[in-house]
């Protein structure tokens, strides 16, 4: 496996530091989980890797020319917009191959006429399948039923087997334990 991302003694935040110093690496083909209680800066860490949040100390090294895809917890504002699922996938360059049957035949329907779970999975899929070397996922199992989580688990493994590195933030410990090769638990500021 070759290194895609390496962070050393990294402290990130928005207006002020939000994380404890952290060492982190993700290699191609590897799925790394980030867990920890609310407020320890898991989402902020993903935002910093994507270039949005501020790095206060430490450093992030990325493989030159690394292609990133970032899924956040923000709900894409597609309600009230005439955008079909197939058009959404085309925007990010994601393919439809491998979609679960309960979505594959609904790609020509407007996103806001799908159920909340279907819409969430399709907007997640558009990021997950976008051409990228490193995929950053923030609570991807939110709003997914058991079938959705099972399909996501299987697909993440396929994506990693195809060479992508995946960094997953999740509160869903069962999901993280099953899907991740390594899990890093972030500590709060009061954890010493």
């Amino acid at each position: 496996m070759s290194g895609l991302l390496r962070a050393e003694q990294l402290v990130v935040g928005w207006q002020q530091p939000a994380t404890q110093p952290l060492d982190l690496s993700v290699a191609a083909g590897e799925i790394v989980g980030l867990t920890g209680p609310n407020g320890v800066g898991k989402s902020t860490l993903l935002a910093a890797i994507a270039g949005r949040a501020r790095v206060f100390s430490g450093r992030i090294e990325q493989r030159p020319g690394l292609g990133l895809a970032l899924q956040t917890q923000d709900v894409p504002p597609v309600v009230g917009m005439p955008l079909a699922g197939r058009e959404l996938l085309a925007l990010t360059g994601a393919g439809a191959d491998g979609l679960p049957a309960w979505l594959a035949d609904r790609l020509d329907i407007r996103l806001d006429r799908l159920s909340g779970g279907q819409r969430h999975y399709l907007t997640l899929w558009a990021i997950l399948q976008a051409p990228a070397d490193l995929v950053l996922l923030d609570e991807p199992t939110n709003n997914l039923d058991v079938a959705g989580v099972a399909h996501l688990t299987e697909h993440l493994r396929d994506r990693a087997a195809a060479g992508a590195g995946i960094l997953v933030v999740s509160h869903d410990t069962a999901f993280v334990d099953v899907v991740c090769d390594r899990v890093i638990a972030l500590r709060g500021n009061d954890a010493g």
Binding site: L68, G80, E87
Partner: protein
């Protein structure tokens, strides 16, 4: 003879009626439909200012709208939540009314701009509007993917280490200049009706983005042709007829 007299205004307005609804879809996508009204008012004020200064009104309208389009991002942080567009609208309206009140020649043009002056549109206007509209459609097609991505996945550009400002500022400038030309052709409210109502209908009814763009342009063009015929036949001002017709269609379909 009479047909020739109306052919140039008809063609000039038709070009606007096809492009404005498509532009309006992207303004609605970005929650910036108020910007259309702001650009129109600023362009009207600029045209009147140019007239008073002895310069061609169309140049004044284009220049002030371009300034507004290019400059609105500079104050975006201080004037968030649509406040910038509201300020531009108020400034444009106030400037236009004051100019019209204090300069007799500006008063006449002001009435034409705010009432809808389609039948006075000449060939010089057509030679500006037609090439611009032919340029605007491919420009919007080129910007489309980026504008949709910037709206649906705002972090996409960060993650790809791509700057988003060329897309956003390019669109602002395109919208401002298109609205300025449309204001000179259809008047402030005629242009706004075309940029607002067809997108409002298709956002509710269309099955896909591509179908929405096509339907929006179709509604704009058909509404425009019908309004042109009704206004001409009944000897009514064009702008209000177009606005009422589009509203009626909107309430019926949406």
């Amino acid at each position: 003879m009479q047909a020739d007299l109306f052919l140039i205004p008809f063609l000039t307005g038709l070009a606007c009626a096809i492009v404005l609804p498509v532009l309006g879809c992207y303004l609605r996508l970005r929650d910036e439909w108020l910007a259309a009204l702001a650009y129109s008012h600023v362009a009207a004020a600029g045209a009147l200012l140019a007239l008073v200064a002895g310069v061609a009104p169309v140049l004044g309208g284009l220049a002030t709208a371009a300034l507004a389009g290019a400059g609105r991002r500079l104050f975006a942080r201080r004037l968030s939540g649509g406040a910038g567009d509201a300020m531009l609208l108020l400034a444009g309206w106030a400037g236009a009314v004051l100019l019209a009140a204090n300069a007799p020649m500006a008063e006449r043009l002001g009435h034409a701009l705010f009432d809808g002056q389609l039948y006075f549109s000449g060939s010089d206007n057509l030679y500006l509007v037609l090439p611009w509209c032919l340029l605007a459609i491919p420009a919007l097609a080129w910007l489309s993917r980026q504008l949709l991505l910037a709206r649906i996945y705002p972090d996409y550009f960060h993650a790809q280490h791509l700057p988003v400002w060329p897309v956003v500022s390019g669109f602002d400038l395109l919208a401002a200049l298109t609205l300025a030309l449309a204001t000179m052709t259809l008047g402030v409210m005629g242009g706004f009706a075309l940029v607002f109502v067809p997108p409002w209908i298709v956002f509710r009814r269309a099955q896909s983005w591509r179908a929405g763009l096509f339907l929006s342009a179709l509604i704009g063009a058909l509404g425009y042709v019908a309004a042109f015929a009704i206004a001409l036949g009944l000897d009514q001002p064009f702008g209000p007829v177009l606005a009422l017709l589009l509203i009626a269609v909107g309430l019926l379909i949406a």
